[in-house]
């Protein structure tokens, strides 16, 4: 500081510190890239005109930028959607009764389904501009990210601790203040965790959302997903390799520049001290916190928020007539129930008449049988994956030296789109002339099995040390050790993992049961391949039928299998 004393004080004060100067280029480069990417999104575009894309790896960074930008926009939209959904569903009982079942249905609709229904509408929204197609792609990514975030936020908001909620009321926080001061901070850890899962989902479906080939459209937006699609069409293994590398970079960038700092920052929102949680650290956040100027910039939103608290505050006291609780009239809630029931009946009737006139009942039966095939695949594969990953996960979880390192690696594997491995599978199956009905199936759990492993590791690593020592002391061995000690200990986290894995597998069946490599394409009998096929030829009634049947299966599984298992896992261990 001594060298500074000869300079005018404004210069010294305004110059920031060395951390500022080091961070400046990074911030500027990021802003420049964002602006450039955003400009590219609004290029003029005519439907039918192919966009110039190349397999030249030098263009890969540009494609990566476009994809990353799309992901970010979709994530932003998902966050806004989740907040709006959760706030509405928690505050208004009438809305809750519609929104929650609706989301349950929405999340079991496969992403291709959304795309095929909405792409034409989005293109019509921005005639003559690429923005329409971009919106369709972003919407597709959004549909692979938003639902679990919305559910997680809704669950958190419903479980805000009663005393904190009472404190917020006693100190007269308005709805707006309450959301930002109490509800969102409380929900933050689980929301962040779900954001990371959502991002993985987004990467998994990046090919489907960028290389839009539904309803006889064939549009490839500049991006990693389109690059992969082109590489597969051209049977270019080197390009697939480049794409894998590019995607790794993308995932790494998100991890280091976005999620790590967020996780480290969100550490203060942890509600209760639990032994298993270790504080995350992020070089970027530490760096940011050491800067002066950039930090002040980051404080702007906080300042804006405080300002908004002044605007949106409660303007009446408890003795005001406005605080008087308005009793919900039973007539109104009964009318609402009746309306809902009528709407559901109408929808069912419309659906039945639609199926009757457009596709016929034999087709329904056929699709249902296809659904059973896919169901069998999902169940068998989850069982097989469990047989492999539960012992491995338990072993890793019990070895603290490994669990920390491998947990990060597994998270990474979950984000990695398994469909990049599909070409290998196709070549393998064609070469050995294998039955695609059986050998395509493993592709379904390729991406989702990691949730299983990840959760089992987490469960095993939280087994109390005393329990471990007791098991050792009693000399538990072999099957008895598994039945009485290890399996009950990891069962709850196993169920959590299995729920996620099964949901993901259903969704993945659409890309896994119908794969191609150049002009060789393989098809397994199943609901996924049915939907994929109908989507590519744009047969709306059959797409709707396929999606409907898949919804029924997924919701049925959730309701009759997973929720029950979950209830069991929470309370009683069935061993």
């Amino acid at each position: 500081m001594h060298a500074n004393r000869f300079f005018p004080s404004q210069v010294v004060a305004a110059s920031g510190n060395r951390w500022d100067w080091a961070l400046l280029p990074l911030v500027l480069a990021l802003l420049g890239l964002l602006a450039y990417g955003a400009m590219q999104m609004t290029q003029p575009y005519q439907v039918g005109k192919p966009l110039a894309l190349t397999l030249d790896p030098r263009f890969l960074p540009y494609y990566l930028l476009r994809t990353v930008l799309r992901m970010a926009l979709a994530m932003l939209a998902s966050i806004v959607f989740a907040c709006a959904f959760a706030a509405l569903a928690v505050k208004f009982r009438a809305a809750e009764r519609v929104l929650v079942p609706l989301l349950d249905i929405l999340q079991s609709i496969p992403i291709l389904g959304f795309l095929s229904i909405t792409v034409a509408g989005f293109i019509a929204l921005f005639p003559g501009s690429l923005l329409g197609v971009e919106c369709a792609a972003i919407f597709a990514i959004f549909t692979s990210q938003a639902w679990n975030m919305a559910f997680s936020l809704y669950q958190s908001l419903r479980t805000v601790p009663a005393e904190l909620s009472e404190a917020a009321r006693v100190f007269q926080l308005s709805g707006w203040q309450r959301f930002w001061r109490l509800e969102l901070p409380f929900a933050m850890p689980s929301l962040l965790w779900n954001m990371m899962m959502s991002m993985s989902g987004g990467w998994f479906f990046v090919v489907a959302s960028e290389a839009i080939s539904v309803s006889n459209q064939d549009i490839k937006l500049p991006g990693i997903g389109s690059y992969i699609a082109m590489a597969i069409e051209a049977r270019d293994l080197a390009a697939v390799g480049w794409a894998i590398a590019g995607m790794l970079v993308g995932i790494l960038l998100y991890d280091q520049l976005f999620f790590r700092p967020l996780l480290a920052w969100a550490d203060k929102f942890r509600f209760e001290e639990s032994a298993g949680d270790t504080a995350q650290s992020s070089w970027l956040l530490t760096w940011l916190r050491r800067t002066e100027r950039v930090r002040r910039l980051a404080l702007l939103p906080a300042f804006g928020l405080e300002l908004s608290f002044g605007w949106f505050r409660r303007r009446f006291d408890g003795t005001s007539v406005r605080a008087r609780p308005v009793p919900v009239s039973p007539l109104w809630s009964r009318t609402w129930d009746a309306l809902l029931a009528a709407a559901v009946l109408l929808a069912v009737w419309r659906l039945l008449s639609f199926v009757h006139t457009e596709v016929g009942w034999s087709e329904v039966g056929h699709v249902f049988v296809l659904g059973l095939y896919t169901l069998a695949r999902v169940l068998v594969l989850i069982a097989l994956a469990s047989l492999v990953w539960v012992p491995v996960g338990v072993w890793i979880g019990l070895n603290p030296r490994w669990s920390g390192r491998l947990q990060a690696a597994v998270q990474f594997l979950a984000a990695f789109p398994a469909n990049l491995m599909f070409p290998v599978a196709v070549m393998f199956i064609v070469h050995w002339k294998l039955n695609p009905d059986i050998w395509l199936s493993p592709l379904m759990v390729l991406g989702t099995q990691w949730y299983l492993l990840f959760n089992v590791i987490a469960g095993a690593s939280t087994i109390p040390t005393e329990l471990r020592l007791a098991a050792q002391n009693l000399g538990l061995k072999g099957w008895l050790k598994w039945r009485r000690y290890l399996l009950p200990a990891v069962f709850p986290s196993f169920v959590t993992g299995a729920i996620t894995a099964s949901g993901g597998s259903w969704n993945a069946s659409i890309v896994a049961e119908y794969v191609s490599w150049g002009d060789t394409s393989l098809q397994a009998q199943g609901l996924g391949s049915y939907i994929a096929h109908m989507t590519s030829i744009g047969d709306f009634p059959r797409i709707a039928l396929g999606i409907g049947v898949m919804c029924v299966f997924v919701m049925g599984m959730n309701h009759f299998v997973w929720r029950r298992l979950y209830a069991i896992a929470e309370n009683r261990v069935p061993f």
């Binding site: 005393e163 100190f171 001061r181 942890r270 405080e306 408890g318 605080a323 069935p574």
Partner: protein
């Protein structure tokens, strides 16, 4: 006479449980909180005193009757009424200063003004220097100081304290409560009246100008005691000890097996709220009572001190021993019965047998479950019907608690068993209790 700050007239409050049954928690409660007084509400858990506090805080509305704050009807939380919570209810992601500023921020007070007032409150409660700390960095006592500063910074006329010291260890709780009293006496607090809900009889007697004893089902004020001793009051002085004895007698009056006026035993019901009494502790307390220096008869406060039990732990044990006829509660004293003497002398197996017999004779819920099980050819029944029965007269959580107490006792007395995995109540295999 000055007009009351808060006035309740004929208040009735019922909660509707999930299965649609309605339970009355408070019925025809009248209460006035006047300026310049500290009032303590005492009562066993489930007697509705916390509900009453929340009604005065504007957190709950009433089904019948009036709630007036400064002669105006109160519909929701008011600026002049502030609250301190049992488990502090600090926002863990906000610093001490931000937590204290919460109520001011909600009112839209400017940042510099807010900081000034918050710092004054923090200094008043002795936390200067901790403004930037997160609650998780503080000990329990310090967290509650933050909770108190947060309540005081809004300059409330009425301060409600919901068992504010019960989550702290005895020493810390005592210190904090003496500091609050010192602030109150010195007049440095803007507050005009304090209402505290407590389990701790000594705390109530040392702090309050009036002690109200609550009785349950439905909650109502059973007795009121004015305390005119000058402050500071020494908890060990003779006057205070006499008052504490008196309150103990008031608190246990309803549980006495034989009421003083009539010689009829109090009729026991299926839906009696069985006290959460651990069997090991019950036996420990009975043995302590049997041995010198008590030799079979003890003053409850002294017995609690000797057993190192807090009121909230001691009273359920005394209640349980009284119910089972092993000891008798009269005027705040616990006296061992002939049966109790026999029980202490018996070995483990005989004790369990005797326990089972007493359960069947004196705890209608246990006897009823046993009877129902005997009617079943399989000798087992689901727990749900019994829970449903209990839920008709108490909250779902309370129903589960009562049933689990019954199960614990019945397991010990070998009256029936319970399989946690299947949720089934079943008859034990071997010969049972008295059967």
């Amino acid at each position: 006479m000055t007009s009351p700050l808060i006035e309740l007239k004929g208040v009735r409050k019922a909660f509707r449980s999930a299965d649609g049954a309605s339970r009355t928690v408070l019925d025809s409660v009248d209460f006035r909180l006047k300026p310049g007084e500290i009032v303590a509400l005492l009562g066993q858990s489930g007697s509705g005193k916390s509900t009453l506090l929340r009604i005065m805080a504007g957190l709950l509305d009433v089904d019948r009757g009036d709630v007036l704050y400064r002669d105006k009807p109160l519909f929701g939380p008011a600026q002049g009424i502030s609250m301190v919570f049992q488990s502090f209810a600090l926002f863990p992601w906000l610093t001490v200063q931000q937590n204290v500023e919460l109520g001011l921020e909600a009112r839209g007070i400017a940042a510099d003004k807010r900081a000034e007032r918050a710092e004054a409150a923090i200094a008043l409660i002795g936390l200067s220097g901790f403004e930037g700390a997160l609650p998780r960095e503080l000990s329990g006592g310090m967290r509650q100081r933050v909770g108190i500063a947060r309540a005081l910074v809004t300059e409330p006329e009425v301060l409600l304290m919901d068992e504010a010291f019960s989550a702290l260890d005895v020493l810390t709780g005592e210190r904090l409560r003496n500091e609050i009293l010192a602030l109150w006496v010195s007049g440095r607090m803007p507050t005009q009246a304090i209402l505290l809900v407590s389990h701790n009889i000594e705390e109530a007697v040392v702090m309050a100008d009036r002690v109200l004893v609550f009785a349950s089902d439905p909650g109502h004020v059973r007795a009121e005691l004015a305390i005119t001793l000058p402050r500071p009051r020494d908890a060990d002085s003779l006057e205070v000890r006499a008052l504490i004895d008196e309150v103990y007698a008031l608190m246990t009056a309803g549980e006495e097996g034989v009421s003083p006026s009539s010689a009829h035993p109090v009729h026991a019901h299926l839906s009696d709220r069985l006290p959460s009494a651990d069997i090991g502790r019950m036996e420990g307390l009975l043995e302590l009572l049997f041995r010198p220096p008590f030799d079979g008869s003890a003053d409850l406060p002294k017995l609690g001190q000797q057993a190192e039990l807090r009121d909230v732990e001691l009273l359920p044990l005394a209640d349980a021993l009284n119910r089972l006829g092993l000891a008798q509660l009269t005027h705040g004293d616990l006296v061992i019965t002939a049966l109790g003497r026999r029980y202490v002398g018996d070995d483990k197996t005989l004790r369990q047998q005797l326990f089972g017999q007493q359960l069947l004779a004196h705890v209608p819920l246990v006897a009823y479950i046993r009877h129902s099980l005997e009617q079943e050819p399989s000798g087992e029944l689901k727990e749900e019907p019994f829970l449903r029965l209990l839920r008709e007269s108490m909250a779902p959580a309370e129903a589960e608690r009562v049933l689990s107490v019954a199960i614990q006792w019945a397991r010990y007395g070998e009256v029936f068993e319970y399989n946690f995995h299947t949720g089934l109540l079943e008859l034990p295999d071997g010969p049972v209790g008295e059967a």
